[in-house]
Assembly symmetry: C2
Homo-oligomer: 210 residues x 2
């Protein structure tokens, strides 16, 4: 046989699928053979959905979340607080926070985290547009909602420094971050000591309504 | 937001991807967001490869393996024994057996196993074409290389009955099946008793060359 798969069509499909994260060649082959067993229109729908997604996707001009419109439904909502901006890494984080039902402000999607090791500097992220947004004077609070990782902390710190530089932030701008603490449902025994220490320092008044 | 994903393009891509086996909506979202971060031509290559695969795939007229030609390279090879036919469930099994480098006969790909529970009867598989192949008188040995499962055993039995019916098999046709035994590298302690029993009954002369 000329190649591993006896068909260059199969070879191409397996190679293409294995570019996806978490998909090795064995999984890619399983997916490709599945597609061969299904009706022709199903393969076309899957393939075309991927092409359309990448070619026609649009982002909100204000917050850089994925959007069908020039400005996304969150940024143009009359019931959201436009003066409270939650800074997140990516689109998935917007979904996660929306799913809590606890947030009524707007977002700013960075599109990643500062990571010198991966060659991702602040200029590759939507940080400049956040600075502009804050400098325009319409923002009263910036909530830094990034991962509790080294990259998240680096990015938090960089944004904090940029926003507190002279002449950027309006008088009284609040810069907050997500509370660090014991995860709800987690046993204390299995909480790491750094988190436990932070949760002690940042203890809150007991609230019987929870 | 009108839908979970704030974009129908993303919604469509996630729904399409989650039709693949082993891909839930969370994984589908991760794959879709990955595609958004990659260059546009990569999405097009992946999508088009899936469409091309399903639309243009061809199967060998003799053995039903995936093939670029009317007859596949194995069936048309001058060095393979055309009178020894290994019956397998699917294309992946052909690759597995080819990878052993231990087989120089040809194949017959059934396209599945008989499974009354899933509504898969013998008529949905390439069994009739196997019977024709054997009836033509060119086959001296049929190797049943199906899974050691209930479906595999049912299919083995059905094929055996069809091939041994009067007037089908040529004089002296051998019908064999894969040896059942202890997996190479497996400890005896963890081998199930049925397999162990079979491996005792079918014990072979010690061969120091292994």
């Amino acid at each position: 046989m000329e190649n591993e798969f006896s068909s260059s069509l199969l070879e191409n499909a397996v190679t293409a699928l294995s570019r996806l994260p978490g998909v090795g060649r064995k999984t890619a082959l399983r997916l490709a053979l599945h597609i061969l067993r299904r009706p022709e229109n199903e393969a076309r729908e899957i393939g075309q959905a991927l092409i359309d997604l990448r070619e026609n996707i649009r982002y909100c001009r204000v917050c850089h979340n994925i959007s069908e419109e020039d400005v996304c439904p969150i940024c143009s909502s009359p019931v959201r607080k436009l003066n409270v901006v939650c800074v997140v890494e990516n689109v998935r984080d917007v979904m996660s926070i929306e799913a809590t039902g606890q947030y009524d402000g707007v977002y700013h999607v960075l599109g990643g985290l500062v990571s010198p090791i991966d060659g991702i500097g602040p200029d590759l992220l939507e940080i400049e547009s956040l600075v502009q947004r804050v400098a325009s004077g319409t923002v009263d609070e910036v909530i830094l909602a990034l991962s509790a990782t080294m990259e998240g902390d680096t990015t938090n710190y960089y944004i904090y420094r940029r926003l507190t530089a002279p002449g950027i932030a309006p008088e009284g701008l609040k810069i907050t971050q997500l509370a660090r603490g014991v995860s709800v449902g987690n046993e204390l025994e299995y909480t790491d000591e750094v988190t436990l220490g932070r949760s002690l320092l940042n203890r809150t008044l007991f609230d019987e309504s929870y």
